[in-house]
């Protein structure tokens, strides 16, 4: 007698769809994966939307409207394990740059009549609303890491996802340090590995799209970023991009501001 296949659901909140697309981009692994699981709910890929409960829910995107808040609670209640995928779901994403800004001003920049628009003043990570079993980083996520996380949850084990910095990956890959060799500002020392040291391998500095590594010393990196020619406001900009609301990056952006610049904010 065959046991039922684990039921997988994929959910979207405020996002670009890139992390869900990463699942469809697992070309040669996609059909074998689909043989192992029952894809019960995945609107980007299927109009068959099966009811819960689900064994594993993958959640993309941030909470950016009131209806999202209710929906994520329902999803949590229907999911045995809930894993967030990508910078939006784990740190609010690029749209979190609205946080702390005047919502009316933002709305009036984009819309002639903002009154119709349903949105929250903030974009927040999923974990700010419901318990999350695992957070997979990246803007976008890395497909090898995604397959590892899905395999691990199906096997009932902990995913083997490193939380060390991009610098480790650079060394392992034999990529010349762009900071040491060329004075290129790089967030690699404080950014979590997972991309395979992609930017340094392409001769540019890391811009932190995987968010902060475990206990990053952002303050120690500050003089180095300045020495590499970044003025304060550019350091702030660098931290305030795709993972602006990740606490370590948010604090680092605050540290980078001189006191009078802080006052002006």
């Amino acid at each position: 007698m065959s046991t039922p296949r684990p039921r997988l659901a994929v959910w979207k909140f405020s996002s670009c769809d890139g992390c869900q697309l990463t699942l469809l981009d697992c070309e040669e692994d996609l059909l074998p994966l689909a043989d192992r699981v029952d894809v019960a709910y995945f609107l980007e890929a299927s109009r068959a939307a099966g009811p819960g409960p689900y064994d594993l829910s993958l959640v993309e995107g941030s909470i950016a409207a009131q209806a999202d808040v209710e929906r994520i609670h329902e999803i949590r209640a229907q999911s045995r394990a809930l894993v967030t995928i990508g910078a939006c779901a784990t740190a609010g994403g690029i749209q979190a740059l609205r946080n702390g800004r005047d919502l009316d001003e933002l709305l009036s920049t984009v819309y002639a009549d903002p009154a119709y628009i349903d949105t929250l003043a903030t974009s927040t990570p999923i974990a700010a609303h419901v318990p999350v079993d695992f957070e997979l980083r990246g803007c976008p996520i890395d497909k090898r890491q995604l397959l590892e996380v899905v395999s691990a949850f199906l096997a009932g084990r902990k995913p083997d996802i490193p939380d060390h910095s991009v610098c480790f990956e650079c060394k392992r890959r034999g990529v010349t340090c762009v900071t040491v060799a060329h004075g290129t500002p790089c967030l690699g020392p404080v950014t979590q590995a997972g991309c395979g040291a992609l930017c340094p391998a392409f001769a540019r500095g890391c811009f932190g799209c995987f968010g902060p590594s475990a206990s990053p010393n952002t303050r120690a990196l500050l003089p180095l970023l300045h020495a590499d020619g970044l003025p304060e406001h550019d350091v702030v900009r660098l931290y305030r991009t795709f993972n602006a609301e990740a606490p370590a990056f948010r604090d680092a952006a605050g540290d980078a501001l001189s006191p009078d610049e802080e006052d002006r904010r």
Binding site: K12, S14, S15, C16, D17, G18, C19, Q20, L21, T22, L24, D25, E27, E28, L30, L31, A34, V39, F42, L43, E44, A45, S46, R47, A48, A49, A64, A65, D68, G93, I94, Q95, L97, R98, E105, L106, L107, T109, V110, Y111, A112, D113, Y116, I117, D118, T119, L120, C139, P140, C195, L198, C199, A201, F202, A203, R204, C209, R237, T241, F242
Partner: protein, 438 residues
């Protein structure tokens, strides 16, 4: 079924599209009263958030508008900012950019053809079900899509949100061995793309003829991809182009307006309901395709003008084959340029650019301060332009199919919407179906 005087159909969450939206159709006494395509995805405020950023950042930031067509955003952002700075990127650097964009056309169109759109024609919920009946077919699609992704990975570092694009060109030039590998992959991809064209031609196309103005770029010596002159055709099949205008005058012709039922803005061109994308490109530039590809189109039932949006899947397949051949041509003609990028010094000014994203014409405008700070940004994505045309199609489509029950009507409406490969995150915002039979 049809005996009720009132009927309300509702798709509350549209599947196999990118982003989130809904459709509400109200029918009263056998007449379609209203059709509303509602994009409820919360706004993401890109245009506002770009203000105050440095001029080299829109290339990475606007990629995040859309995970399916990040390169379209990157290419358009680069060209618009470079335009503001008075720099034109040409020669082999422009060729490499074009190669990267070909990769995205192959990947995005193939994803849409095989994984999102084809299941509709076959009455299946998804490509995974299709794989259970014809695994080789789906494997061909995935292999072709992968070829596009490989181009994006070699040129851009990764397929979603490439990291290697910068103002003036690239951070790093590709290595000869990497390009050789792409050339080998493209030989298989060409065969797969040819078979895809032949297969899409055999699908069963519902009857629907639409009348929209059509807007696409027209390039001097090529099918439109990374540039050209915006050219607007009227709705009549044999009419000459109504107008063409420089990209810098785009906003004088294409005007966005807000509608109460959607977070995405809707646009019109010279006051006309217009459509961008495959039907528009075919109308505007099929004569720029190699004759063999035009012939393939004719054999598949495409005239000089195609007014059946269901046949856009055939045009997409031909465009994939064109992109594969174009990528092969670019690779054969490639000689490494002296440096990966040309300098783009900042200056105060306004820059404009338009390119052909797989789902239609995409426009960016940036106003820069002298130090390169972005003062204002304006982005007009294809789905925002297509939204009014999609609503108009549905009105006619539903009117002809009121005899169907709600479930079947809903399914067919979803297919009709998917003809346009709507990208709701792009519309900076997509879709849920309500048909109200009242």
């Amino acid at each position: 079924m049809t005996h009720r005087s009132h009927r309300l159909l509702s798709v509350r969450s549209l599947a196999r599209v990118e982003g989130e939206g809904a459709m509400h159709i109200r029918v009263r006494d056998g007449e379609v009263e209203s059709v509303k395509l509602s994009i409820y995805e919360p706004p993401r405020f890109f245009e506002a958030l770009l203000r105050g950023r440095r001029y080299d950042e829109p290339v990475d930031i606007t990629a995040r508008i859309c995970g399916i067509c990040p390169v379209a955003y990157q290419m358009t952002a680069c060209q618009a900012v470079e335009d503001a700075c008075g720099v034109t990127v040409d020669g082999q650097l422009a060729a490499l950019r074009r190669l990267l964009y070909c990769g995205e056309w192959i990947e995005s169109h193939t994803l849409h053809i095989y994984l999102l759109h084809a299941p509709d024609f076959l009455g299946l919920p998804d490509a995974l079900s299709l794989a259970r009946t014809d695994r080789a077919l789906v494997e061909r699609g995935l292999r072709l899509k992968q070829a596009g992704n490989q181009i994006m990975e070699v040129l851009g570092g990764r397929a979603v949100h490439p990291v290697n694009v910068r103002l003036g060109g690239f951070h790093r030039l590709p290595e000869a061995a990497e390009l050789d590998r792409l050339a080998r992959l493209l030989r298989t991809a060409r065969r797969d793309a040819e078979e895809t064209v032949a297969w899409t031609a055999t699908l069963d196309f519902p009857d629907l003829h639409v009348r929209h103005a059509l807007l696409a770029l027209r390039a001097a010596d090529s099918y439109p991809l990374d540039g050209g002159v915006p050219t607007l055709h009227g709705a009549l099949p044999d009419a000459p182009a109504l107008t063409s205008f420089p990209v810098g005058e785009f906003e004088r012709h294409v005007v966005e307006a807000q509608v109460p039922h959607s977070t995405a803005l809707q646009a019109s061109a010279d006051g006309l309901r217009h459509l961008t994308g495959p039907l528009a490109r075919w109308r505007t530039a099929a004569d720029r395709l190699p004759v063999e590809l035009r012939d393939l189109g004719a054999a598949a039932g495409l005239g000089e003008v195609c007014d059946n949006p269901f046949r856009s899947i055939v045009i997409r397949a031909i465009e994939v084959l064109w992109a594969v051949r174009e990528a092969q041509r670019l690779l054969e003609a490639y000689e490494p340029p002296p440096r990966p990028a040309v300098p783009v010094p900042p200056r105060a000014g306004v820059g404009h650019a338009a390119t052909e994203a797989p789902r239609g014409l995409l426009y960016h405008r940036y106003e820069l301060a002298a130090d390169g700070t972005v003062v204002t940004a304006d982005i007009v994505p294809p789905t925002a332009q297509n939204q009014a045309a999609i609503e108009a199609d549905l009105r006619e489509f539903v009117q002809q199919r009121l005899h169907l029950d709600d479930a079947e009507l809903t399914r067919q409406c979803e297919q009709a919407i998917r003809n346009y490969d709507p990208c709701i995150s792009c519309a900076t915002h997509f879709l849920d179906l309500t048909v109200e039979r009242g």
